[in-house]
């Protein structure tokens, strides 16, 4: 009898791979190029939520620009979790970056007092957009570039507030799935509590991303990474993915294409911007 060599067990839910050392080197080079080389801006502002995405972004910016040039801005609302502030403090302490805390309660409530019936989703969007308002103003104050922190998973699932989380002009993590961000965080030395806690937008009490989404991040990442290669739903279930989860991810993905684009503009001429008049973003 000959020994039989079998392939490794086929795990459709295997996490998308990442070499964190290579990814770090690449993203640090990206940040230096976009901030310093292209724009001549040596400072960054980052909204520091206490979650892993903004922490990883802060660590990368500190490597790219030096911690003294990185402004980490905590923007708590009066109902935000106190633990988020504490976790953000761990990052501030570890990096030695410039820290600011700006309470957005008065700004948010100043508007919401006229909208007492706003449901949690609307309130969450107001919080996110207020934070982006603050972040851009702080960037002007410090001659800094706002750095986005959104990851690929939440972008693909549309789990973000349009023209808020996605507003900064550059985003180092936007092509990394959440599970890859976790691995990068471990490599960079992000404090463990931020990696181990359940991700949360912290826009409502006891909110978690995975509760909102209805699927665990590792499973969503695996489905999305195959879906983006072009696999159809039947092909995915044939490869062992759960049909209900595939349907959920497909629904979210296809229902949110618009969130990953600039506003749709009516074309009226043969010089329509980004239709006929086409220039790369870095052309000047």
């Amino acid at each position: 009898m000959l020994p039989i060599v079998d392939p490794p067990p086929r795990d459709p839910y295997a996490a998308p791979k990442i070499d964190p050392e290579v990814a770090t080197r690449w993203l640090v080079a990206f940040l230096r190029d976009e901030c310093i080389e292209r724009r001549g801006i040596k400072n960054a502002v980052i909204g520091l939520s206490g979650g892993v995405d903004s922490a990883v972004t802060a660590y990368l910016c500190a490597r790219a620009l030096g911690p003294q040039n990185v402004h980490l801005i905590r923007m708590p609302y009066r109902l935000s979790s106190a633990a988020s502030l504490d976790d953000a403090q761990l990052v501030i302490d570890a990096l030695g970056a410039v820290a600011h805390t700006i309470d957005i309660s008065a700004a948010v409530d100043g508007y919401l007092q006229y909208e007492p019936d706003a449901d949690p989703r609307r309130r969450g969007n107001v919080l996110a957009r207020t934070r982006m308002l603050v972040l851009f103003d702080q960037s002007a104050k410090f001659a800094a570039l706002p750095i986005g922190t959104g990851n690929k998973t939440e972008r693909l699932l549309g789990y973000f507030t349009w023209h808020a989380d996605d507003a900064p002009p550059i985003n180092p993590l936007g092509d990394l799935f959440k599970t890859q961000v976790w691995e990068l965080a471990r490599y960079l030395g992000v404090p463990a509590p931020l990696i181990e806690k359940a991700p949360s937008a912290d826009l409502e009490a006891n909110q978690t991303d995975e509760g909102d989404l209805g699927i665990r991040y590792p499973r969503a990442d695996a489905i999305l990474s195959s879906m983006l290669l072009g696999y159809r739903d039947k092909q995915l279930t044939a490869r062992g993915f759960d049909a209900a989860e595939v349907a959920l991810v497909r629904r979210r993905l296809e229902g949110t294409h618009w969130k990953r684009h600039l506003p749709t503009t009516a074309m009226l001429s043969d010089t329509a911007i980004n239709e006929f008049y086409l220039r790369p973003v870095d052309f000047s």
Binding site: M1, L2, P3, I4, V5, D6, P7, P8, R10, L229, G230, Y231, Q235, A238, R239
Partner: protein, 308 residues
Amino acid sequence: MQSDSHAARARIALVQSKPRKGDYIENLAALRAVFAQLAALDAPPQLVVLPEAALTGYFLEGAVYESARTAERFGHELSSLWRDVAGQRPGEIVAGFYEVESGSYYNSAIWLALDERETRILHVHRKLFLPTYGVFDEERFLSRGNRVQVFDSPLLGTTALLICEDVWHSLLPTIAALKGARSIVVPSAAPGRGIDGEGELLSVTRWRELLRGIAMEHGCFVLYAGLAGFEGGKGMTGSSCAIGPDGTILVKAEGDDACIVRAELFLDDIEIARANLPLLADLRAVLPDLLADEELPWSRGRSDAADR
């Protein structure tokens, strides 16, 4: 000649055989045991691939004349073994052998398709590139094949067979892919060398890089069955592996000894890979211009090309 009738999935087995030099009968008996082992599996393979010179050993020199068979005889021997242990179970078998036809000898590989009713020889590929340098001496004893053909495997669809050095010339897998091959199957016998590699012989690394490159460039499966065992001090590296159309190594033999390497192929991975990296489609578009280049040797005729 694209086949649409192939299966969605394919269970394959690469038999990394270690024949005893010159003992054809014993090697057939050993293969019978392998077939029996495969047939007894819960999910028997639908395709079995054996290496180059699978039942004779590779370095035969003048003994190739005693060991060679006609394709019909070799096919009959293989199919009889299969029928003995697997009954009427359908299957496809690929194996390398030294072929004789009308007094000419070739390094060939055969592709058999067996169903309930009959055994068909789907294709016999004759190795085009006969290494005759260094440790190799094929062309002294063998004639060259002169065509790369594709054929329809009931299991894999449009497929090509190439042998060992054939795939070291990127043109041959390219021709196979241009003719429609969705899978390229490579029986081989590779004597290992190079001890300054990283964790394995350099020649093993080089082979794997080559095979992955073919798979990625053409978006096809590459199934490589390597011969095992030492032949007069020259160790065959085995290294059998199945590579997906995006270059992923699906499975590979861990050692260089005899073993069976199994894989399940999702054949629609080919369309995904080709959509994401459409190099083959790009080549089809540019090829007419490349072939019309008057500086290429064939535009001045065959004899001129041969002189260069």
